[in-house]
Each structure stands twice: as structure tokens, then as C-alpha cells.
Subunit: 319 residues, 2 copies
């Protein structure tokens, strides 16, 4: 019998909280959003999230709630240890507090885990195993799903592809390591690489697109500049793609995935980023070019985090 | 009811083939060895291995045979594609040929997979999950065992820790990648690092231990030299340990293992190698020092490959 249960998925981002009602198949029924109250005490913020969930769930037969959140999340105990999106949260017992408010089972997981679970079950990785998911944004996250289940290792903290070092003597990373992938392909790295390469002055397409506002410079705008023929912007994505490919070869040699799904804001550059990554992967992986994993853009768009959180809540850690 | 079955395990090395009778618990009942006929056609060599297995199995109620072999091994189809120990073997259908000769089920797997399976079930990783195993020798191999099962990915070729790049622009590796771990901590790298550092002349302890025979210089001898106070030999292991620790941090950030078991000839250096590796791991892994995996020397000695191959044959890929 088909699983017809529904769950609410919640995706806590830096500026917005997305909420949706998700069917056990991964189909997204409703998607809404609300602003994040990052400057409120954590218990008050949780109460607010719970109210938004309750409003959305009204009239639907919801079985569970899943909440995805960036940062160091202990999915086993439902605790958000640290999150860049919620700087006032420390060791927040999110699952417990939210379950008390909602009188529903609540599961909590890392946002890259939610993304990968969604893409593996209902997106670009559907029918494949293992699936490696990578989110390229300000931070670079990732996760591994095998036979439909997250493979997070002992504490569930595995899959941190953004913090695989590809230059052991490279620049220091805030995580304590050196030469981490995130330092080369994260949002800040791309913007810095562009400015180092092209400078910042009227007549450069990125400058004009941003109307001279340096703070507006982001991967989406660089992608637009590249499409308008700005060679420095194109070079930024080519170079980032090559470095991404080095990390994908490492992941492939360790995990031998069937597919690698790339999402997040930086991935909007599509093949401008992914083609050099695929070429580098094929050159460097031990497996011949015919056996390396497919490197695919994410298929579920902005709802992936909501879908993955809901699926995790419905299926459980062994799901 | 306890599993009381027996299997023969075979470990095809570069100069010797080890064979043993192994209980389903991982206990090694008998261990023998025979020389490798690497210069014979592959089918003749297989027939010879089969005869040695049959001799050993006589009088024991053996249920299955497992064969471990270095190189690119397709465990699903029982094929040895390429093996450094068996240069005349290409796409050898080892499982099929041996099963025909022996009239027993035969399983074939990569030697580092066999090592890791043995250490996870009956050695240093017993009771832990995930277990990452690393074999440090001429080649550097590895595997991942989670909940008792090999996690080799789509084709079973995962776990290749020796070919994780830690310097994306580092020296080229025969595997096609650059800056692979094997280039820094494999047997050849250690010998080359020693010679570059200390030179090769009478009065240096490694020179004297090797009686001036440069070809005799190997990690075991370097370890003896280090123990006699040769500072260059000690420095070689410290530096290799640091680089190993960089790779262990990458593996930890991706896999979050409970324990990492290190075996192979280079690992005979013990804490002289493992202490700098542990320190570097604790400094670099995202998890705090209290949560990083234990880094342990292998516990099963030279029989690990035999034990792991036999366990794989008894338990199957899902074992």
C-alpha cells in the first residue's frame, strides 16, 4: 500500500524560514515562507516557528514535522549546537521544544542532509545509490545517501565536503583545517576572485549590473556578467569548477557514488561551473571516465530543504 | 544459534599467497603460505591456487572460499581487472574459475576491503561503526565498513584513501590524479624522503642496517634506524604522520568514523607515525578533539587479509 502520510517540512535559512506540506512520496503540496527572528531568544524563536507550523498544518492530517537548519546539528538528539543562520542559538534542544509546542513528533537535521535526502528520493538522484549532495552557497555543505538512507557516520556529522582539504598547506579555514573546498568555491571566494581578477570600476559588466554596489556582488550577478561576456566572471566559474572537480574526484575515490547532485546559489551558474568540474573529475578519478558518477544540477529548486526535512521526519533516520 | 561455519581465506600478495581456515567468528584456525606464480598464465595460476585451497580444506567442513587480491577487483562479478601483484592478470574471472575447480562458492574482493572487514569484525575495530581501514604499504589502500558491511559504493571501488588528493597541484600519481596520499606515505615515498634528507653513506644508521644495499631500504629498516636514534629516519615518520593526519581529517569530515584502523608494512612504525597523525587529525577535523575517531594500529597481524576474505565469503556482500 502506498504511503499516503503528510509531514510539514521547515527550512530555516539566513533570512527566511520556508515551510511546506509534503507527501510521503516527496511531492510538495504547499510552500510558504516567513522571516527568521534570529535576534530573538531561542525559545521564543522556536515558539514562533511552531506557531507557523501549526497554522500551515491546520486542516491537513499531518503526522510529523521535520526541521532543517544550517550548522552543526545533532539529528540523533534533535539539537542545534551552532548555526550560522541563528547566531543566538547554542545547543538548542529544537526537536524537544518544538514537539512540546506542537504535540507532534519533530525531527531535526542539517540543511545539506535535508537537501540530499530530497534530491535522492524525489529529485536528480532518484533511483540512484549512493547519492552525494553538495550545496554551494556562502557555506559549502554536503551529505551522502545510500539505499535511501543518510550515511552520516557515527554522530551524523559526515558528508562535510566543503571541509575536505585539497591543499594541505592552503589558507586557514574558520573550521580549523587548511585549504578546504569552501575557501575556493564558496560565495565569498568567488566574489573575491572576481575582484582580484577584474577589479571594480565602471564599464566592467559586474560593476554595472551591481550599479556600483560592491555588496550586491554575488554568484548570481557574476553569472549574469559572465553571460554578458565578462571574461573575468567566466574565468571565476571555470576555475571554481576545476577545484570543485578535484574535490569530486576525492569524494568519488572514497565513496564511488552513482550521482553527485549540486545545489545552492553558486550552482545557478550551471554548466559554466559544472562542465569544468565534470572534466576534472573524469581526468582525476581512479575509475575510468565511463564509470565516474554523473554530476547533475539539483532538480527540486528552493523547496528541496523543506521536502528533505519532511521526508526525514516521516521515514526516520533509518528511512 | 552461533554461526559455526568455516571458510578458506586466501590473500594473494606480491611474493606469497597466504591461506587459512577461518571460523565464522573471525577466528583463524590454520594459516599457511605458498609462493605466488605471477609469471604463469592466469588460468594456470588459478588452478594452482585452487589446488592449495583443496589441500588445506581437506578434512574440514568448509562452506566457501574468499580470495583477497590487491588492485582493481570487481567483487560483484568476481573479476580481477588489474593487480600490481599479478601483472599478467587482466580481467581474470577469478571467482568463476576457482569455483569450477573447487566446487565451492568463491568470493573475490580487494585486499584492503578484506583487511578492513577483518579488523571491523574481529580486530581493532570490533564493536565500532563506521570503521575505516587503511593499509600503508607500497600502495596505500582502504575501505569503509559500516554496521558490519563493506560500503564500497556503486561498483565497490570506494574507500581508495591512498588516492585522495591532499595537494591539488601536487606531483602526478600513476592513478591519473595529483598529490595523492600514497605519494607521501607509501613505501617508496618514505625511502625517497629518507635519501633526500640523510643521503646514503657509511656511518648513517640506515646505511649500516642495510649493509650498504640501497634496495634493502624499506620502512621496517627505517623504523629500526629511527629507534637507534637516526634523526632523519624519525623525521620521515613524523612528516608522513602529519600528511596521513591531513588525509584522516578529510576522511573524518566525510565519513565520521568511530575508529580508523591502520595496517600494512609502513604502520609497523606504530606511534612514531600514528602520534603525529592523531595530533593533525585532532587539529584539522571539524569535530572537536573529543569526537574524532580513534586511530588504532591493526590488531590481527599478517592474517587479517585471510580472515577478511573468508568472512566475506561466509557473510556475502550484505554480511
Amino acid at each position: 500500500m502506498a504511503d499516503e502520510r503528510l509531514a510539514v517540512g521547515v527550512d530555516i535559512g539566513g533570512t527566511l524560514i520556508k515551510l511546506g506540506i509534503v507527501h510521503a512520496s516527496g511531492a510538495l503540496r504547499v510552500l510558504t515562507e516567513t522571516s527568521t527572528s534570529i535576534d530573538r531568544p531561542q525559545e521564543a524563536a522556536v515558539a514562533e516557528i511552531a506557531r507557523a507550523v501549526a497554522r500551515l498544518a491546520q486542516g491537513h492530517d499531518v503526522q510529523a514535522v521535520g526541521i532543517g537548519c544550517a550548522g552543526l546539528v545533532d539529528a540523533v538528539h534533535g539539537i542545534v549546537h551552532l548555526s550560522p543562520n541563528l547566531p543566538r542559538w547554542h545547543d538548542a534542544r529544537l526537536a524537544e521544544w518544538a514537539a512540546r509546542e506542537l504535540a507532534l513528533p519533530v525531527a531535526v537535521l542539517n540543511d545539506a542532509n535535508a537537501f540530499t535526502l530530497a534530491e535522492a528520493h524525489a529529485g536528480a538522484g532518484r533511483g540512484c545509490s549512493p547519492v552525494v549532495g553538495i550545496t554551494l552557497g556562502t557555506g559549502v555543505g554536503g551529505a551522502i545517501v545510500e539505499a535511501g538512507r543518510l550515511r552520516g557516520g557515527r554522530h551524523g556529522f559526515g558528508g562535510e565536503i566543503g571541509h575536505v582539504s585539497i591543499e594541505m598547506d592552503g589558507p586557514p579555514c574558520p573550521c580549523g583545517n587548511r585549504g578546504c573546498l569552501e575557501l575556493y568555491v564558496g560565495r565569498r571566494a568567488l566574489v573575491a576572485a572576481y575582484l582580484a581578477h577584474a577589479g571594480w570600476s565602471p564599464g566592467g559588466s559586474a560593476y554595472d549590473l551591481a550599479r556600483g554596489d560592491r555588496a550586491a556582488l554575488d554568484p548570481r550577478l557574476l553569472y549574469e556578467a559572465a553571460n554578458r561576456g565578462d571574461p573575468a566572471a567566466r574565468e571565476v566559474f571555470t576555475r571554481a569548477g576545476i577545484v570543485l572537480g578535484v574535490a569530486l574526484a576525492n569524494v568519488t575515490n572514497l565513496i564511488d557514488p552513482e550521482v553527485i547532485v549540486i545545489g545552492g546559489g553558486v550552482a545557478l551558474a550551471g554548466d559554466m561551473l559544472l562542465e569544468p568540474a565534470r572534466r576534472t573529475l573524469a581526468e582525476r578519478a581512479m575509475l575510468g571516465a565511463s564509470r565516474v558518477p554523473a554530476v547533475l544540477p539539483a532538480a527540486l529548486g528552493v523547496g528541496a530543504g523543506v521536502i528533505g526535512a519532511a521526508l526525514y521526519a516521516l521515514r526516520g533516520p533509518d528511512g
